[in-house]
C-alpha cells in the first residue's frame, strides 16, 4: 500500500516544491521589477496599460474599432490632431492650415525634416498616396466616409514637396477636424503592395513588426496573439520637448489584453499595469485606499460622451431597406405605435423615470442625469437651456390623461381605445448596468401604470434587430461620440441616417420636427461662422429635448486611475482617453 503511495507522495512533494519555487521566483522578480522601475523612472522606461480587446489589424486605414484605432494611433502620425483636453484641433505633421472663404478648400503646410520610423523622409507624396488609398472604393476604408459627399470624393493635390490642398465637393465646416482620423502612410512601403491589389492584407497581426512603418511616437516591437502588444520608442519621431529632447520619453509602451474587467482591476492593483481607463464606478471604493496611500491617482472627468438612452420604435409598416410597403405586415403593433408617436406619451415616460435613482443605484453616484442630446462633457457645443424632465409622477400622469389615456383602479393605464398600456423593452445581454437600469425603469413605469416586459438579446442580435429587422417596441442602449463636432452626429440626427434608430433611413422626414432638424444640420454643415453654427446646433438640441425621440437618461462619468508618478498625463473625454498624448508621458 505504502509503496504504491510513495511515488504519488513524491509527485506531491515535487509539485509543492515547484509551487514554492515559483512563489520565491515571483517575489524575486517582483523585487527586481520594483528596483528596476525605480531606475526606470529616472530614465523613463516602460508603461503598461490594459485594454479589453486586442488590435484587429495594424492598418489604421482599414480598422473600424476603437481598440485597434487607439493602438494604431500610437504608431501613426496625422496632419492635425484634436487636442483631447481642449477639444480643439492642433497641428501635428501640418504646421499650418488655411480654409478658403467658400469653405471648399483646405491648404496644409507640412512639417519639414520629418522621417518615418525606418528613416525615410516624409513628403507631400505620402499624404497624396494616403488619400489615394482612402478614396479607393475597392479598399473601402471605414475612415473614408466623412470625406464622401453623396458619392463625390475629396480631392487632394500636391502643391509642392511640403504643401497639399484638399478640395471638398461642398463647403464643409471644421474640415480640419476630420484629418485627426487619417494616418499618414509611407508611400515607399505601401505603394507596391497597393499596386499589387493587396493593401487589405498589408500590416495584419502576423506581419513582421519591422515592416510596419509610421510617423507616430512608437513603433511595433512585438505582438503576442491575444496577450499583449509591445510598442517601442521610435527614434525618428519628430517631436521634441521644450528642452529640445526628442520625444517620446517612454522606451516601451505595453498594451496588455485583458478582456475581463476584474482581471484589469486586479492587475492594476497588483502593480502589473500602470493605467486603468475607464474605471468602473463600482471599483472606485476598491481603489480609494490605494489613492489615500498616495500610490495612485483617480481622476473623475465628469460626464462622458457615453449617454444611456431609451427609445420607442416609431417605424411604420414600411421597411426602409426595400421601401416597399408589405401588406398586412407591420413592424410595431399599430395600437402601440399610436402611443409611441404621441409626444406627450414620450414626455410622460421621460418624467416618470427617476434618473437620480439610476445615478445612485446603478452608477454609485458616478454619473449625471441628462435630458438633451449632448453630454455636458461636450464643452464647445453643449446647450444647457433645453427642456428638462426631472422626476415628476404627477406631471407624467397629467400628460397621459391629457393625451386621452385613463386609469383603472388596480389595473393600470389604458389608452383611449381601452387597451392596457404595456410594451416590451429590449436591451443587451450580459451587461449588468443595463440589467439594473431596465429593472429600475420597469419599476418606475409600473408606478405610472405601464407594464414593461424585458427581453435581453446578445449584442449582435440586438444590433441586427434595431438596424435591420426593426421589429421591436422599445430599446435601452447607449450612444457614444467619437468627436464633438456637430457634423459627427449626422447619422443619428438626420432622418436619413442609419443610427436615427427610432425611425432610420427615411426617404423623406416623417415629421415636421425631423424635417427641421435635417434642415438645421445641413445649414450648420455649410456655415463657417462658429457662433452661427452653435446657434443652429443649439436649436437642434432644443427640438430634440422637446420631442424626446431618444429619452436620455444619464451620462456616466469617465474615471481614470493611474500610478501617481506618471507625468504629463492629461486624461480627456475623447478616445483614447489617456494615450492620446502618449509621446509626452513619462515617469517622474
Amino acid at each position: 500500500m505504502l509503496s504504491v503511495l510513495r511515488p504519488l507522495l513524491g509527485c506531491f512533494c515535487l509539485l509543492i516544491v515547484v509551487i514554492a519555487n515559483s512563489n520565491c521566483d515571483r517575489r524575486k522578480s517582483d523585487g527586481g521589477r520594483s528596483t528596476s522601475t525605480a531606475q526606470q523612472h529616472s530614465s523613463g522606461n516602460q508603461l503598461v496599460i490594459s485594454k479589453s480587446a486586442g488590435p484587429r489589424t495594424f492598418n489604421r486605414l482599414i480598422s473600424a474599432d476603437e481598440q485597434t484605432n487607439s493602438i494604431a494611433d500610437c504608431l501613426m502620425g496625422r496632419l492635425i490632431r484634436i487636442n483631447r483636453q481642449t477639444q480643439q484641433p492642433e497641428g501635428e505633421l501640418a504646421t499650418a492650415w488655411q480654409t478658403s472663404s467658400d469653405g471648399k478648400t483646405l491648404i496644409c503646410e507640412l512639417r519639414r525634416d520629418v522621417k518615418f520610423s525606418d528613416g525615410h523622409p516624409f513628403t507631400a507624396d505620402d499624404v497624396v498616396f494616403t488619400f489615394q488609398v482612402l478614396n479607393d472604393s475597392s479598399i473601402g476604408s471605414p475612415s473614408s466616409d466623412p470625406f464622401d459627399f453623396d458619392g463625390q470624393r475629396t480631392k487632394v493635390e500636391k502643391l509642392d514637396s511640403h504643401k497639399v490642398r484638399f478640395v471638398f465637393p461642398a463647403p464643409y465646416a471644421a474640415a480640419e477636424r476630420l484629418l485627426d482620423g487619417i494616418p499618414i502612410l509611407p508611400k515607399h512601403i505601401l505603394e507596391p503592395v497597393y499596386l499589387e491589389g493587396k493593401f487589405e492584407q498589408a500590416w495584419t497581426l502576423s506581419t513582421p513588426p519591422e515592416t510596419i512603418v509610421g510617423l507616430g511616437p512608437f513603433k511595433l516591437k512585438e505582438y503576442v496573439a491575444g496577450q499583449r502588444v509591445i510598442l517601442s520608442r521610435n527614434e525618428h519621431y519628430w517631436k521634441t520637448d521644450k528642452a529640445g529632447k526628442r520625444l517620446p520619453y517612454l522606451d516601451e509602451l505595453i498594451i496588455s489584453i485583458d478582456p475581463d474587467r476584474n482581471t484589469q482591476l486586479l492587475k492594476f492593483q497588483q502593480g502589473e499595469t500602470d493605467l486603468l481607463s475607464p474605471v468602473n464606478a463600482d471599483d472606485v471604493p476598491a481603489l480609494a485606499a490605494m489613492e489615500q496611500q498616495g500610490k495612485i491617482k483617480i481622476t473623475d472627468l465628469g460626464p462622458s460622451m457615453i449617454r444611456e438612452i431609451f427609445w420607442f420604435n416609431l417605424n411604420g409598416s414600411i421597411k426602409p431597406k426595400s421601401g416597399q410597403p408589405k401588406s398586412g405586415h407591420t413592424l410595431v403593433d399599430p395600437v402601440k405605435l399610436r402611443w409611441f408617436k404621441d409626444v406627450r406619451f414620450r414626455q410622460a415616460v421621460s418624467y416618470a423615470i427617476d434618473r437620480e435613482a439610476i445615478v445612485r443605484l446603478v452608477f454609485s453616484g458616478k454619473a449625471s442625469p441628462q435630458w438633451g442630446f449632448l453630454s455636458p462633457g461636450d464643452r464647445l457645443w453643449f446647450n444647457p437651456e433645453v427642456k428638462k424632465y426631472p422626476y415628476n409622477l404627477d406631471r407624467a400622469k397629467s400628460l397621459l390623461v391629457e393625451a386621452g389615456f385613463h386609469y383603472q383602479i388596480d389595473k393600470g393605464l389604458f389608452d383611449p381605445q381601452g387597451q392596457p398600456v404595456t410594451f416590451t423593452m429590449i436591451t443587451n445581454a450580459g451587461n449588468t448596468i443595463r440589467q439594473k437600469m431596465s429593472a429600475l425603469i420597469q419599476a418606475d413605469l409600473a408606478r405610472l401604470g405601464i407594464k414593461v416586459n424585458l427581453a435581453t438579446l446578445e449584442s449582435r442580435a440586438l444590433l441586427s434587430t434595431i438596424n435591420e429587422s426593426l421589429n421591436y417596441e422599445a430599446c435601452l442602449l447607449a450612444i457614444v461620440s467619437g468627436d464633438t463636432d456637430p457634423t459627427s452626429h449626422v447619422n443619428i440626427l438626420s432622418s436619413r441616417g442609419i443610427t436615427h434608430w427610432w425611425h432610420p433611413q427615411q426617404t423623406r422626414p416623417a415629421t415636421d420636427w425631423e424635417a427641421r432638424i435635417d434642415d438645421l444640420m445641413k445649414r450648420q454643415m455649410n456655415t463657417l461662422n462658429p457662433t452661427e453654427r452653435k446657434r443652429l446646433f443649439d436649436e437642434v438640441q432644443a427640438i430634440f429635448a422637446e420631442q424626446q425621440p431618444f429619452v436620455f437618461l444619464v451620462s456616466r462619468h469617465l474615471i481614470v486611475a493611474s500610478r501617481a508618478d506618471i507625468g504629463n498625463l492629461k486624461p480627456a473625454l475623447l478616445p483614447d482617453f489617456v494615450l492620446w498624448n502618449c509621446e509626452e508621458l513619462y515617469w517622474r
Binding site: V4, T263, S464
Partner: protein
C-alpha cells in the same frame, strides 16, 4: 481491434461534418453578423457596410459559403478571422495549445489527488477517513465551476499569491528557461486547480468503486487464500484491474475539459479555445467559431475513441461481441 479503430475513425468524418454544418447553420440562423457592431459607429456609412459584407462573403447564401469553407478545409485552411484580420489557423493553434496545457495540468492534478484518495478510501473502506473523503468529494461535485472560478480570483486578489489572467508574465521573454517554466506553471496552477476540483470527485468515486468491486472478486479471495500479502494483492491484482476504467475515463473527460471548462477560461481570462469560442460567438467571427467547435468536437471524439479502445483492451466481452 484494428477494425474497431478504423471503423470509429471513419465514423469521425461524418460526425465532424455534421458539427461543422450544424454550427455553420446556427451562426447563420442567429440574427446579426460580424459587421453589425460597426453600424454603431456614426462615421461608417451603409455603403461601407455593404462593401465589407461583400468582401467577407457574408452576402452569399450559406451553402456557397459553406462549400467554399469545406474546400479550404481539405487544403488545411480554416478560413479567415474577421475579428483578428488573420488566418484562423495560427489563432486556433495558439489557443489550442493553451487549452491543452490547462487540460493536461488539470488532469495531472486530478490524478494526483484522486489516486491516493481512491486508494485510501478503498483500503480503509467505511472508516471515518472514507466518509470524510466521500463528503469532500460530494462538496466538490456540488460546487458550480464558475463559483469556484470566482472564488479563485477573489482568493488571488486578496492574497496576491497568484497572477490573474494570461499565460505568461509581461517580462516572460527576459526570463531564463527555468524562470519561464516556473512562470508558466505559476500562471497555470490556479485555473487548473479549479478544473481539477470539478474532476476529482468522479475519478475518486470511480476508482474507489472499481477497487472495491475488484477486491470482492473470487481471484482476490484466491490470492488471499494463497497467503499473499495485502500489499501484493493491492499492487499486483486489484490496482491493475481497477485502473482500467479510470484510464477510459481520462479519455471521456477530455471533452468535458475542453467544452465544459470554457466558463473557467472566460472568468479567469485564460486565453484558451473556450474563451476564443465565446468571443468569436459573440462577435460572430464565423470561421474561427466553426474551427473552434470542430476542434472541440474532434478532441471529444478522439477522447471517446481512446476510451473505447482502452475499454476494449480491458474487457474481451466488448471487444468481441457475440452475435445472438
Amino acid at each position: 481491434m484494428l477494425k474497431l479503430i478504423l471503423q470509429r475513425s471513419m465514423s469521425l468524418i461524418p460526425l465532424l461534418f455534421a458539427v461543422a454544418l450544424g454550427s455553420f447553420l446556427l451562426v447563420r440562423l442567429a440574427p446579426g453578423d460580424f459587421l453589425a457592431e460597426m453600424s454603431l459607429n456614426p462615421q461608417i456609412s451603409e455603403e461601407t457596410l455593404v462593401r465589407l459584407r461583400e468582401q467577407y462573403a457574408l452576402d452569399q447564401p450559406w451553402y456557397t459559403q459553406f462549400g467554399k469553407w469545406l474546400v479550404g478545409i481539405v487544403q488545411g485552411n480554416f478560413g479567415y478571422s474577421f475579428a483578428y484580420n488573420c488566418e484562423a489557423n495560427s489563432l486556433i493553434y495558439e489557443r489550442l495549445s493553451n487549452t491543452l496545457w490547462l487540460a493536461l495540468a488539470g488532469l495531472t492534478l486530478t490524478l494526483l489527488a484522486a489516486l491516493p484518495m481512491g486508494l485510501l478510501a478503498a483500503k480503509y473502506r467505511s472508516s471515518t477517513l472514507d466518509r470524510i473523503l466521500a463528503f469532500l468529494s460530494t462538496i466538490c461535485l456540488s460546487s458550480p465551476s464558475f463559483l469556484l472560478a470566482l472564488l479563485a480570483i477573489v482568493f488571488a486578489a486578496r492574497t496576491g499569491w497568484f497572477p490573474i489572467g494570461s499565460v505568461h508574465s509581461l517580462n516572460f521573454e527576459k526570463l531564463s528557461a527555468t524562470g519561464r517554466l516556473t512562470d508558466f506553471l505559476h500562471h497555470l496552477i490556479l485555473p487548473s486547480t479549479v478544473i481539477a476540483l470539478r474532476l476529482v470527485p468522479s475519478f475518486f468515486r470511480q476508482l474507489r468503486a472499481s477497487l472495491i468491486e475488484t477486491l470482492s472478486q473470487d481471484y482476490i479471495l484466491t490470492a488471499r487464500a494463497k497467503g499473499l500479502s495485502e500489499r501484493m494483492i493491492f499492487q499486483k491484482h486489484a490496482l491493475g484491474n481497477a485502473i482500467n476504467p479510470l484510464i477510459s475515463m481520462l479519455g471521456n473527460s477530455l471533452g468535458t475539459l475542453l467544452s465544459g471548462a470554457f466558463i473557467v477560461e472566460v472568468i479567469m481570462s485564460w486565453p484558451g479555445l473556450g474563451s476564443l469560442t465565446v468571443s468569436s460567438l459573440l462577435s460572430r467571427d464565423l470561421y474561427v467559431l466553426i474551427a473552434c467547435l470542430v476542434f472541440a468536437a474532434l478532441l471529444l471524439a478522439l477522447g471517446n475513441l481512446l476510451a473505447d479502445i482502452l475499454l476494449a483492451l480491458a474487457d474481451p466481452r466488448i471487444r468481441n461481441p457475440k452475435k445472438s
